[in-house]
């Protein structure tokens, strides 16, 4: 509530609100220094750098719309002439796109929901019971996974998921959540510590239980951080190659990033087909990013600016 107000108020009101606060309020560096001259040399350099970001994306799009004959000439920068969209149809069939897309989407959604719920609940319990040894140690225990990369425990995880019948997308989902947990708990606990305890105490005086306090007061307050955690979980899960490629035993249940490998062996000269498939793999993440990029950046920067 309060930070929403601060964000939407005009600059003057915002700095006034900041001054009223703890003395280290949400004050941006160059927000209200007045109109300054644009630094054009810097802008030109930034535009050139932005080109290196956009070039591979342009290549992907233009290659996907070429004919097979045009796609083998190695000229990545040329525009498709004529435009030929048959690569998409072929890629759709070769990757069994409807099935692959559904599996990847389900794994990703379950990972996002699971990560936000488990991490926010655990973080709340940890922060509110920091004076208790079990919770304090649990925090460091859960955080320890940041030092245990998948590489190190991959072999036993492959072995054990196979033993318990989880060598499938469900097993991948569980592991995705577990590998996101440390980082998400770190973000949530940091955010929870910045929420004043008084807010909660007044709810408690009104007779709210811990369960009610969490769902009605704390969880909504966590929304900006949940958005950040959710987006990072989404990206990690949707784009992951290593884990599903090693864990999922049945090739027909593979996720989108993994099935792209079929273009590295057969059909290796039909570049228009492979690039159409790459584009179909990238597009969902880019679309989600376009709609959530405010949250990606605000989540990170607002968190840092928040007092």
């Amino acid at each position: 509530m309060t930070q929403e107000k601060i964000r939407t108020e005009p600059p003057a009101a915002r700095s006034a609100a900041a001054d009223k606060g703890s003395g280290s309020g949400p004050r941006r560096r160059r927000g209200k220094v007045g109109q300054e001259k644009t630094n054009w040399p810097t802008m030109i350099i930034l535009f050139l750098c932005a080109l290196t970001v956009l070039l591979p994306l342009y290549v992907t799009i233009s290659m996907s719309m070429k004919t097979s004959a045009q796609s083998v000439d190695g000229n990545a920068l040329s525009l498709p002439a004529p435009i030929d969209l048959s690569g998409f149809a072929e890629a759709w069939e070769l990757t069994n796109f409807p099935v692959t897309f559904t599996i990847t989407t389900l794994v990703t959604i379950a990972t996002v929901v699971g990560t936000v719920l488990l991490a926010s609940l655990a973080s709340y319990a940890i922060v509110r019971n920091w004076d208790r040894r079990l919770f304090r140690w649990s925090f460091f225990y859960l955080l320890a996974a940041m030092f245990v990369p998948f590489t190190v425990i991959a072999l036993p995880q492959i072995q054990l998921t196979g033993l318990v019948g989880l060598a499938n997308p469900v097993g991948v989902t569980i592991l995705h959540i577990m590998f996101q947990l440390s980082f998400s708990i770190l973000l949530f606990t940091a955010f929870l510590r910045s929420i004043p305890l008084e807010l909660e105490e007044s709810a408690r005086i009104d007779g709210a239980t811990t369960w009610q306090t969490f769902w009605q007061l704390i969880f909504p307050l966590l929304a900006p951080m949940s958005a950040t955690v959710a987006i990072f979980a989404f990206l990690a899960s949707w784009n992951d190659f290593m884990l599903p490629s090693l864990i999922i035993a049945d090739a027909s249940q593979q996720t989108i990033p993994v099935v792209q490998s079929i273009f590295q062996t057969q059909f290796s000269s039909n570049y228009n087909v492979s690039f159409a498939s790459y584009l179909m793999a990238m597009a969902p993440a880019i679309i989600v990013y376009v709609f959530t990029q405010r949250w990606v950046m605000e989540g990170v920067t607002q968190g840092a600016v928040k007092g």
Partner: protein
């Protein structure tokens, strides 16, 4: 805490072992309220994470370490063989070369990524127009699958550059650098950097925005040059963010896998085979116990590096 606290700075605090200090007020308020009994539901909040985490991370880790002392090949019978596997790992040229390659790659990539990300962050928080649009563009690589973008770059390195070399007559460009065992790693650094600069960039932008404007106003009054401001004000104030980026980045690059699989599959020969790729051969190659010994050693090395990095940074933090 006089500086604003955010996720990244809080993360620094935790990594530097200050987590307890931030919570003193909470511990105090509990006793002040006189509520020694804990609400049982807090256990319910915490337990799912603890149980799943233990089953998915801790148990496999312990199982794996146990098997590293056996001759298990991935299935069938096995016997305890003591530290035989560990001794063999140390004299395996394939494993040693994968360590050499991976550490060299990680050092170069950390340097390249942080230098570019920091400069971009400074530029993106300076007096420019279209700030939001430019920032949005620079973050795009972060949302694209590493393996997919590696395949795109593979085409550029293997087909487009040689075609360009042939058209312009530039000799060295006519052969794919992915097929050159002395240059293939450069391609891997380029693609990895392209992919991981945005993450570091966002953390640096957060760090730069956390610096209060007054600091710069004071510097302006004193007539400090842009370079002096960068070196004497900006860099020391974002030191915590630099540390976070270096630690997270280095850890990530030591586990390099996706980009290498996409670009070179570890080739030519074994020139770009990373530690992760070597360990995973234990699954297909019947080397389970042996590669688990390798993985255990790799884990010990990464933990030691993290401890050393934290020691160094703690010293730095004490100085500033």
């Amino acid at each position: 805490m006089t500086t604003p606290m955010g996720p990244a700075t809080a993360a620094t605090g935790t990594l530097l072992g200050k987590a307890g200090g931030q919570n003193d007020h909470l511990a105090g308020s509990h006793t002040r309220r006189g509520k020694p009994k804990i609400d049982r539901i807090y256990y319910l909040f915490l337990l799912p994470s603890l149980i799943l985490f233990t089953l998915a991370i801790t148990v496999p880790a312990l199982v794996g370490i146990f098997y590293s002392f056996t001759n298990f090949i991935g299935f069938g019978d096995w016997q305890l063989v003591g530290i035989t596997n560990y001794i063999a790992v140390f004299s395996d040229p394939l494993i040693l070369s994968s360590y050499l390659f991976t550490f060299g790659f990680a050092v170069v990539t950390v340097f390249v990524v942080n230098a570019i990300a920091f400069l971009l962050a400074v530029a993106l928080t300076s007096r420019i127009r279209m700030k939001a649009a430019l920032r949005a563009v620079f973050v795009i690589p972060m949302v694209i699958s590493a393996i997919v973008i590696a395949y795109v770059f593979k085409y550029l390195f293997a087909n487009s550059l040689p075609a360009l070399g042939a058209a312009t007559g530039i000799g060295w460009m006519q052969e794919s650098i992915l097929a050159n065992e002395n240059l293939a790693w450069v391609a891997i650094v380029i693609v990895t950097a392209w992919q991981s600069i945005p993450g570091a960039l966002l953390i640096y932008i957060a760090g730069l925005l956390s610096i209060p404007g007054e600091v710069y106003e004071a510097a302006d009054i004193d007539g400090a040059s842009a370079w002096t401001r960068l070196r004497s004000i900006t860099l020391p104030l974002v030191a915590g963010y630099v540390i976070i980026n270096i630690i997270l980045g280095f850890k990530g690059y030591l586990n390099a896998y996706d980009v290498i699989v996409g670009l070179t599959q570890g080739g030519p020969g074994t020139a770009t085979r990373s530690i992760a790729m070597t360990i995973f051969t234990g699954f297909t190659g019947g080397d389970y116990a042996y590669q688990m010994a390798n993985a255990t050693l790799f884990f010990i090395i990464t933990v030691l590096i993290s401890i050393i990095q934290l020691r160094i940074t703690r010293g730095k933090a004490a100085l500033s």
